[in-house]
Subunit: 222 residues, 2 copies
DNA sequence: TATTATATTTTGAGCAGTCAAAACACTGCG
DNA sequence: CGCAGTGTTTTGACTGCTCAAAATATAATA
């Protein structure tokens, strides 16, 4: 059985790879996402290669094997079902759900997760809009396009927020930027590096920087 | 913050001490309950003494300090609320609840536990009849007297079962010996080393050995 | 092409927790 | 008292994970 540390590395490699869109995950990126020195990540990744969870190309980076991908999806499933439970059942604030899930995901059994999923009524996405893999490892393609690619005049609905950073989530929540809310794009200025949107229900206008706007995923409609 | 290992040692020292009734907990007992060699327990206990969680008397045994007792009660609270959740909400079988709680108790936050307690409606005992400490560390004295001290003719109600061993619990459950059930004591023979009781609702008769009968705690009534 | 900056790997060390086995210290007899 | 049995502590070693800092490779720039 993999240790919690191994589980965490594998999950991070999966999500970083998703972030990147293509290619291998370089060590700098991995070590930063893990909060660990680069040397530590190198050592670990060599070990993960030994046990066939990743393929490690020295001086290039790392990729999940089939086996690694399965483990990653199992972890994502755990993480997201736990988040859903914390929010919907225990009444956690939407933005404080992440830290607790980060630890619980390594302590629960498969039995726990399957019963929890049943109790929750087989939700398809977690509170941040991320899709929840099934017990067999199937996952819906994550929906949404980055807000910073949307032209002025479009109407959009918030679909997902990348949920790594609590401060980011708190800020977005205070600005009504949560999954399901409808906005109109007012301005999208590459030179100014900002995107301005208006919350349709409250007419409230918010301006966010280009980088954070990339972590707000929306579906265009209308 | 204490590690999970430290949490586990402290919790075990508390429950072993409770089992013993009085005096210090000797190393053999501790190491067996922890599933660890005696040398390991000695090393650990010296460290726990350093950080003021226990008082260690070499060649005698170990006792919790005030600080250690607080931690123990916090762990017991976690363990028992989690067990209650697994049984009442997720629908775990009464006898398979323990193993999962054993890991989860080290991964949950205080926020989690307090919200869970609220969600469960502030239960007073867990599925095995063990009292649940409050957030401030208060605990009801454990109720019940050992079944092997009950005279023939008495009517008793099952109050608690010592929940360390799954096989024990499964057997008791199959014999209707679960908290809340009423029995009549038919025989209590020190020479034979057995106690025979009859389940009043079904007239079913069960005989158990003296040692296991000591782990069945009942309240006499009627 | 030579130089510099950056990413990566290697090396040596440390911490928490564990075991096996040897050394030691107390029973309680005979 | 002396000795055996049992419980306890000590010692040396190992695993998993980590860091700091030195060594090395690659990419970028002048
Ligand atoms: Mn995690
Ligand atoms: Mn999420
Ligand atoms: Mn435990
Ligand atoms: Mn219990």
């Amino acid at each position: 059985m993999p240790t919690s540390t191994v589980e965490q590395y594998i999950k991070i490699i999966y999500t970083q790879r998703e972030h990147l869109g293509e290619g291998v995950v370089p060590m700098k990126r991995l070590s930063e996402a893990m909060g660990v020195t680069p040397g530590t990540a190198t050592t670990m990744v060599k070990h993960l290669d030994e046990v066939e969870l990743v393929r490690y190309q020295p001086r290039q980076g790392v990729l999940l094997t089939e086996k690694g991908e399965n483990l990653a999806l199992r972890m994502l499933r755990r993480h997201r079902l736990i988040e859903t439970f914390l929010e919907q059942v225990l009444g956690y604030d939407w933005s404080e759900v992440h830290a607790d899930a980060e630890r619980l995901e390594h302590a629960v059994s498969d039995r726990f997760i399957d019963k929890l999923e049943d109790y929750l009524g087989y939700p398809e996405v977690d509170p941040h809009g991320d899709p929840i893999p099934t017990a067999s490892g199937a996952i819906e393609p994550a929906i949404g396009i980055p807000l910073n690619t949307c032209a002025p005049g479009r109407r959009v609905q918030i679909a997902r927020l990348i949920d790594d950073d609590t401060d980011f989530l708190v800020y977005m929540k205070n600005s009504m930027i949560v999954p399901g809310q409808d906005f109109g794009v007012r301005e999208n200025s590459a030179v100014a590096g900002t995107v301005t949107i208006e919350h349709l229900a409250t007419r409230r206008v918010v301006t966010v920087g280009f980088e954070p706007a990339g972590r707000i995923l929306v579906s265009e409609h209308g």
